[in-house]
């Protein structure tokens, strides 16, 4: 038996039970399905711990080997262990953890998200031009939606929020519905390949 056979059997069995639970009114499947979902919660929690361990190992190795930029790795480890140890031993409601989260972690996260606006500014000056029909439609829609997201849009004309609502409700929704249908079909195909043991990528197999 290959190393990928047992995981494949587990995946197929679990998937069949969950599908049966969804469509068949049989108590056994409901009980087993519920148990599997509870196990998935536990596994997900362990995966978080695994992620933390992976991260620590990765950065520790780089610090130990003094790879280029190793001090960035050291800063990451210090931040990770400080917040992690504080949260684990003092609890998330402790003033220290709250201070670190509210005054250090949260503003840093917000700052990185906020970088997007600066990249949008340079992209607006460089890249968003009406060079063909599609780009022109994109540009007009972007302008209307942006104006509708600020009070100035309402002040300029009551037609702007109405037109923005139309864009969201008609062309946007048509596209979204198409994507919903195709992604649902894609999910069926993916699930079928996994069930039949034809999808091996998640076990590390790739290429032709």
């Amino acid at each position: 038996m290959g190393s990928k056979t047992i995981p494949g059997i587990i995946v197929t069995t679990t998937a069949l039970v969950m599908i049966a639970e969804g469509y068949l009114n049989v108590d056994l499947f409901k009980t087993v399905g519920s148990e599997f979902r509870a196990w998935s919660i536990i596994i997900a929690a362990f995966a978080l711990g695994l992620a933390a361990a992976n991260l620590a190992r990765f950065h520790l190795v780089r610090v130990a080997k003094r790879n280029s930029g190793w001090y960035h790795n050291l800063a990451c480890l210090i931040a990770m262990f400080t917040l992690g140890i504080t949260g684990i031993f003092r609890g998330p409601k402790a003033p220290t953890y709250d201070f670190l989260y509210t005054n250090v972690y949260s503003p840093l996260s917000v700052a990185v998200v906020a970088l997007t606006i600066f990249f949008i500014a340079t992209a607006a000056l460089r890249a968003i031009t009406a060079r063909n029909a599609g780009a022109t439609i994109l540009l007009i829609a972007a302008v209307i939606i942006m104006l509708s997201n600020i009070p100035v849009g309402d002040a300029i004309s009551p037609m702007i929020p109405k037109f923005a609502a139309w864009i969201n409700k008609i062309p946007n929704m048509a596209g979204q519905r198409g994507i919903l249908v195709t992604s649902a079909i894609g999910s069926i195909a993916f699930g079928l390949r996994v069930l039949l043991g034809l999808e091996r990528t998640q076990f590390g197999a790739g290429g032709g």
Binding site: N54, L55, A127, T182, S183, G207
Partner: protein
């Protein structure tokens, strides 16, 4: 025994699964490879490798920030097929490949895929621990880490195909600022506009699945795509019939679909 309110859903699942399975089997038995319309983004992959070779700068790759246990699993896996191809090409042309990962499970998969890619090119030793890098599990920390890589290592090409969230814009624009050509792709509709305006080439929606399968010449994937196309045709026909009948005042077809199994 069958939950009657889900009869329509079950019927759809069974019919679509049968169609997809039939097409997969056809491909596995050697049916001709399906015709695929030319996708500029796919041809650009080789252009990106060539550019990196000439400039002596690395290629950056990322399958996005999704995982393999959520809705975006298909997109991440499609992206990893591009990694497989890129690793082989990077090994063949002696180009440095930097693959950054956000999800720890995807990271372990990517390591294996990249190693196999280099092995297929005949240079297994070209894979180093620096090839596939796990940056962070936090979305914006990952984005910040990749921005740093762009700044320091100045890749010649940036291939970002997979499940992308809010960091799309900043990564693609930062790659452009670093002088890289960008090939982006995702099936997440609301990130596609960001890729369109910042990337040189874009694979939109289903093109990432098709492209990944075509590069890998993976018959199962190609058969699956053909099956999915037939399912979409069925959906389109049902939509069209429903639209026409309702437009002309006949609601019987719509009622039938709505109440089937209820």
């Amino acid at each position: 025994m069958i939950i009657t309110t889900k009869l329509l859903s079950l019927t759809t699942l069974l019919v679509f699964s049968a169609i997809i399975y039939y097409q997969i089997r056809r491909q596995q038995q050697g049916a001709p490879l399906p015709w695929m319309r030319p996708i500029a983004g796919l041809a650009a992959i080789d252009e990106a490798v060539g550019r990196a070779t000439e400039m002596g700068r690395p290629i950056h790759f990322s399958p996005g920030v999704g995982g393999i246990v959520d809705e975006e699993a298909g997109q991440v896996l499609a992206g990893l097929q591009f990694l497989s191809y890129l690793a082989e090409q990077a090994g063949r042309y002696n180009v440095q490949l930097i693959a950054t990962m956000r999800n720890p499970v995807v990271y372990t998969m990517a390591e294996e895929i990249a190693k196999e890619g280099f092995a297929r090119a005949g240079v297994p030793d070209a894979y180093t621990p620096e090839t596939v890098r796990f940056i962070s599990d936090a979305q914006m920390a990952y984005a910040a880490g990749v921005l740093g890589i762009f700044k320091r290592e100045k890749p010649a090409a940036n291939v970002m195909i997979g499940a992308w969230y809010a960091e799309t814009m900043m990564l693609a624009e930062a790659a452009s600022n670093a002088g890289a050509i960008s090939i982006g792709g995702t099936a997440r509709l609301f990130q596609i506009p960001y890729l369109v305006i910042t990337c040189d080439y874009v694979l939109i929606g289903e093109e990432i699945y098709a492209g990944g399968a075509y590069l890998a010449k993976e018959r199962v994937q190609l058969g699956s795509l053909m099956g999915q196309d037939w399912c979409k045709v069925i959906c389109a026909v049902i939509l069209a019939v429903g639209l026409i009948t309702v437009t002309f005042g006949y609601t019987g077809f719509r009622s039938f679909i709505e109440t089937w199994g209820k």
